[in-house]
Subunit: 422 residues, 2 copies
């Protein structure tokens, strides 16, 4: 298998080979049988980024609108975070659900936030461990087969992909992201599962909070209608695709209005509470995010010079979280949920010397120092602004790639003033 | 390691990488320390072929002239035979010698014919098993590192390579053979071991006998001065390089005369007897080759049509030996030493219908039938002769590749009428 992975990594796999591999991986485990449910069953997958807490907002939001969301997530590795680690910063939250428990929860209220178990595509776990050991992780056909084998075992009627691009993305180049999107769309079609992919920006962190508990806090604000605009735009864009795929909205415009109501009415936040309670967590965090783990040391990072924020490098921020103890370099590393950053300044902001750019949340003074060093690297202050990537730039479906024609609300939306975590 | 082998197979290894790999493989085991010996210590390695019993003649011949020959050989696999299997057709012959026993034997009379033990480059054995399992055997850098790690651990002062080319060779194309030769010459130089390579023909079997005991018989005839001309020419060409490398002859012409005397005086045959006796075998086979294992069934293969022998395909002959039970498709297969072929007709011979072309030696009637089928495939009878490859075509050294300028004796030599095995 190690030799096969290296051959696939170097030579690639053709369409038939990826299809056969994906089928073999699915067949190595059980499937989540949801055929008895009449509602659409839709999951979302992101290729991962820094500050990407979209899943935490999207799953309860879309589920509160009657869509069944069996969301299977992963852990953080390298500079990107993972939804399971974020969820586990909620005291008591269990992500290790058996397929039978997940099914009962989906039957009851339509959402479960779970990790990959030994039941679903166990071959993928073993292959992933070998890919890690053989340096063959970054292979588009192997990534596509790995993701799709898990998703297709969930009994979905549709899947939405968030393919990140830019310096902080797993695959920074647009072309490679599109290649991955097309391959996963093809694999979905082969199994009767329609897949829509959006290409979104990861040349800067998404939202403000970066770090496990901090991101949960920001997600809670978002579910209450107080999320930062970029996070809301990406969440709404992905959510609209999910609702349309599920048949829960006739078009993305209607879908968006439904999502606004779900948030303003409190139903989306309520759904999150319900999920937390069902999975053993402390549902009171939704009312009172201060119940989340709190870092002992808090310090402001200020602008070392005047100028324009040219870039906020996600990889430097992500490495900073690892330096603080909030991320992993190896799968067996333990994660401190309390640490991280709140990034206040955005690319294009004009800043004065000494102006606060971010807050560091750390375990101790050494963590503060490490955080300062990481942020000094992350913030590139220059004479001129650099144009950031469009937040959502392309939409990819079976019929091809099209520029993302943002609904007027995405381009002009006036989001309410958001609440910054702490 | 499996992933590394596949990467090396597909991408190749550069010069430094092959060097590092070879050193690591040597250092995984012990070395044969022969530094106390004043005589030159020379081995020969062949890339293998059908009917290639050169080692059986060359080692005693060159050792009888005062050169120390610590010859480490392998087993047959696929269509090519292996020296160890041939030697083991002599009753009692032990090829599993410890390095200490081999050293004592070399001290005593200058020659040992041994297999790779766990002492020499054990990493190579493990890597070879993995290469076999991962289909990465046919990689020039991996082949070079494998061969040279074993040879360089023998404490040699020089090495002669017989790189076969043509349809029956492991690497049929001249260019690939030259590439392998140059790489092994470089690796030798890195370890202070001068290496000379000759490119020889394997577009037809070498000599007449093909099969373990039959080849030992032919080798004994050769040591007595009754070998077939092509076998003698290749043996003398390689032996002359060994003698010159060892400083035992000032030039190849003198070397050849010394070899002729060693054979005509009986000293070469005596040395073979001495080796056999020292390694537990029956030395009387040298006087009486009928003591070798005898096949129960013997049958003539006759020309199915009149014409010219255009080709005698070594791979078909080699597969025929496997079909008779005399070869291996897997390393763990047992080998019947008695079976094989004596090929009487050569490319270019004009033949009549029904003229005997070869003799089949088999265990039973089924073997005879299988042998007939293989030979029907091996002998290509046509209207016109096809020019065979020159027996020795190139000489490769550190300074480059040169056409093999055969000494007059190689081009014109009148070899005595040879004795055909049985």
């Amino acid at each position: 298998m190690a030799a096969f992975l290296m051959a696939a990594f170097i030579r690639g796999l053709d369409r038939d080979e990826v299809g056969a591999l994906t089928r073999t991986m699915i067949d190595s485990g059980r499937r989540l049988d949801l055929a008895h449910m009449t509602a659409g069953r839709i999951d979302k997958h992101s290729t991962g980024g820094v500050g990407d807490k979209v899943s935490l907002v999207l799953a309860p939001l879309v589920a509160s609108l009657g869509v069944v969301v069996p969301m299977m997530s992963g852990r953080g590795l390298g500079h990107t975070g993972g939804t399971l680690d974020k969820l586990e910063s909620i005291a008591g939250f269990q992500t290790k659900l058996s397929l039978d428990s997940a099914r009962r929860q989906l039957d009851e209220f339509g959402c479960a936030l779970i990790g990959q178990s030994e039941e679903i595509a166990p071959m993928d776990r073993r292959m992933y461990a070998l890919r890690d050991a053989t340096c063959t992780v970054e292979s588009i056909p192997l990534i596509a087969a790995s993701i799709m084998s898990k998703k297709l075992a969930e009994g979905l009627t549709g899947l939405v992909l968030d393919i990140k691009r830019g310096s902080g993305a797993f695959l920074p180049e647009l072309e490679r992201g599109l290649e991955l999107a097309k391959l996963m769309i093809d694999l979905g079609a082969e199994h009767g599962c329609p897949v829509v992919a959006l290409i979104t920006a990861m040349d800067r962190p998404l939202g403000r909070a970066c770090g496990n508990a901090l991101e949960v806090e920001e997600a809670i604000h978002a579910l209450r209608g107080e999320g930062p605009p970029d996070l809301m735009q990406v969440t709404y864009a992905l959510g609209a695709e999910m609702l349309v795929l599920a048949g829960a909205a006739p078009n993305t415009d209607t879908a968006r209005r439904k999502m606004e109501v779900a948030i303003s009415s409190g139903r989306a936040a309520e759904m999150f509470q319900r999920i937390i309670a069902a999975q053993g967590g402390d549902p009171a965090v939704v009312e009172d995010p201060s119940r989340l783990p709190q870092a002992r040391e808090v310090e402001i990072f200020s602008a070392p010079r005047a100028g324009v924020i040219a870039r906020v490098e996600p990889r430097a921020v992500g490495r900073g979280i690892i330096a603080l103890g909030g991320g992993r370099t190896r799968m067996e590393d333990r994660v401190d949920p309390s640490v991280g950053f709140v990034i206040r300044a955005r690319p294009g902001d004009v800043v004065r010397v000494g102006e606060p750019l971010a807050t560091i949340f750390a375990r101790d003074e050494a963590g503060i120092a490490a955080g300062m060093a990481s942020l000094a690297e992350a913030f590139v202050i220059s004479e001129e602004a650099e144009p950031p990537l469009p937040l959502v730039s392309h939409r990819v479906t079976r019929t091809g790639v099209e520029p993302y024609e943002a609904e007027p609300w995405v381009r002009t939306a006036e989001f309410p003033v958001f609440v910054e975590p702490r």
